[in-house]
Symmetry: C2
């Protein structure tokens, strides 16, 4: 199935790039996670190591300086560790247990990386302390609009996890349109793109609200998430997949075998890539430097996450 | 109980103001709702009329020009109509039916009031068409950071409704901390404050991300939501309240009678009002014009929603 996926997907026609700082930053990020208690068992550490957060950052943001790459890597480390903790102990299919944890993390986000009320990090546990640390470092970049956007998008991510958990609890597989929309939030891609804009210097509100730019942003988000779904489907299926994957959602909607879902998912990826390229070329006709930075960030994300998915042992 | 609530709450020490345009704007907004199909039965129209969206707008934003008041009133009309549709037919306690509707509305938000793909409004129904109209008008104000924030906050509101519906389905009453956090989103107060910033000209990212300002914003949101909970508790209880009310949450957490929950809720409101006044005075020491506009908007909201709650027949 994975071979079929690779063969069916059009490789994004952008250069494959990777930062030279991946190894160093990867070690630092793992230490950060361990010191904050984000991972506390050898098994959790092994899973995090296999996810290779630093390589994903190094591919999606190849031009970043080491400290910028570190921030992005730490965000991925956080997302992977939280994702793993949702898998452990079936937390991610129990909204009654997940909701108070999400509530605590939303309390952290509301502080926007500013001075934290005493006890805030303790209440929200290691994930809360680490999330506050991320917000604090985003705040230090002194780009308030990106700080606010990052916090908002992390909030959407956490709220979308509750939607996912409620579905899992009742073994509900969402319909295609609903899945496509919610998938934009469940993977944490939006806040990751915002941190990329922080690095590249793009993403101010005026450019971001331009209809072509927001279309491009939605397409880039979809492409990254769908690519991830397609590559991870086989592993998820082996682990008793719960239907929150584009391949499963499409197969179920068509009442067709999963192979057909895979072909459909790949066709959607390829069509969306075509649309992306068309919208991108329109946007670049009269592009200023800010727009070019915005587009560059999305190109790197589409290509980088494709290459990372191809290689990541996480999905094999 | 309602008399007890009134007696226990400290009236916010800001002037009671109301716009002179309430009646005219109220009629326009009702026509808007009817034309877009937001309300389609005499009963729905009667409920909307009793909610008095225009008076809430006229009190929370007393200095608005008629067309500005209209935008805020239409948002309230939309929120009240959607809230009523969640109550009807038990939609608001059935996440399996609510989630596809929320998904369609999130698709609308992703367009940010720009040119809509064909069929978008049809798929999302009258609520989708009306939401797109609101976004389109926010976009026309040409303050992209507020457009992006409005869309994000409406997204949070919709995702939080799914949390509420999942709780209702399993008759779950959230614990206090979780409720307090999620209440910031379930009432639609955050996007309403953003539209108020649009009117008053406040709310740029640099000011909004200031730790004192974000604390003030959180406190103002809490005060508005808690006041609403306290005044609406008796009506909700008569209608078979589901526990998503500060009074019920506090009473349950303390394993105490509801009267005790009401006293506790009022005490929390009064304490938060005291904190608000302290933070506000700190913020005003070195305030620029932008900060004054930001504070004015929150003062008007706290006082206006208190006065509206006192009078609204919706809660009697």
């Amino acid at each position: 199935m994975r071979t079929l996926a690779v063969a069916a997907l059009t490789p994004p026609p952008f250069p494959e790039l990777v930062s030279g700082h991946v190894d160093a930053v990867g070690h630092q990020s793992q230490r950060w996670a361990a010191e904050l208690g984000l991972v506390s068992t050898p098994d959790a550490l092994r899973r995090l190591d296999r996810a290779n957060a630093a390589e994903l950052a190094g591919r999606t943001c190849p031009d970043a300086r080491p400290e910028q790459l570190r921030l992005l890597t730490d965000l991925f480390t956080w997302l992977f560790a939280f994702d793993d903790s949702c898998d452990d102990d079936e937390l991610g299919q129990d909204p009654g247990r997940l909701a108070p944890i999400v509530g605590g993390l939303l309390d952290v986000l509301d502080v926007l990386g500013g001075p934290a009320p005493s006890g805030l990090a303790t209440v929200a546990g290691p994930a809360g302390a680490a999330l506050h640390d991320l917000c604090r470092r985003v705040r230090a970049h002194d780009t308030p609009h990106l700080l606010l956007r990052f916090a908002n998008q992390m909030r959407d991510y956490l709220l979308a996890l509750l939607w996912e958990a409620a579905n899992r609890e009742r073994s509900r597989v969402p319909a295609v349109a609903e899945y496509l929309q919610m998938r934009r939030h469940t993977g944490g891609v939006r806040p990751s793109l915002t941190l990329t804009d922080l690095v590249y210097g793009g993403g101010d509100a005026a450019h971001r609200a331009d209809p072509r730019a927001s279309t491009l942003d939605n397409l880039a988000t979809d492409l990254v998430c769908w690519c991830n779904d397609i590559f991870s489907y086989e592993k998820e299926r082996r682990q008793g997949g719960d239907g929150h994957n584009l391949v499963a959602v499409l197969a179920r909607a068509a009442d067709a075998p999963e192979r057909s879902g895979l072909v459909d998912a790949a066709a959607r990826f390829n069509a969306a890539l075509g649309t992306y390229l068309r919208v991108e070329s329109e946007l670049l006709i009269d592009a200023d430097a800010e727009t070019i930075r915005f587009v560059t960030a999305r190109r790197c994300w589409i290509r980088g996450s494709y290459d990372w998915s191809l290689r990541a042992s996480r999905y094999q």
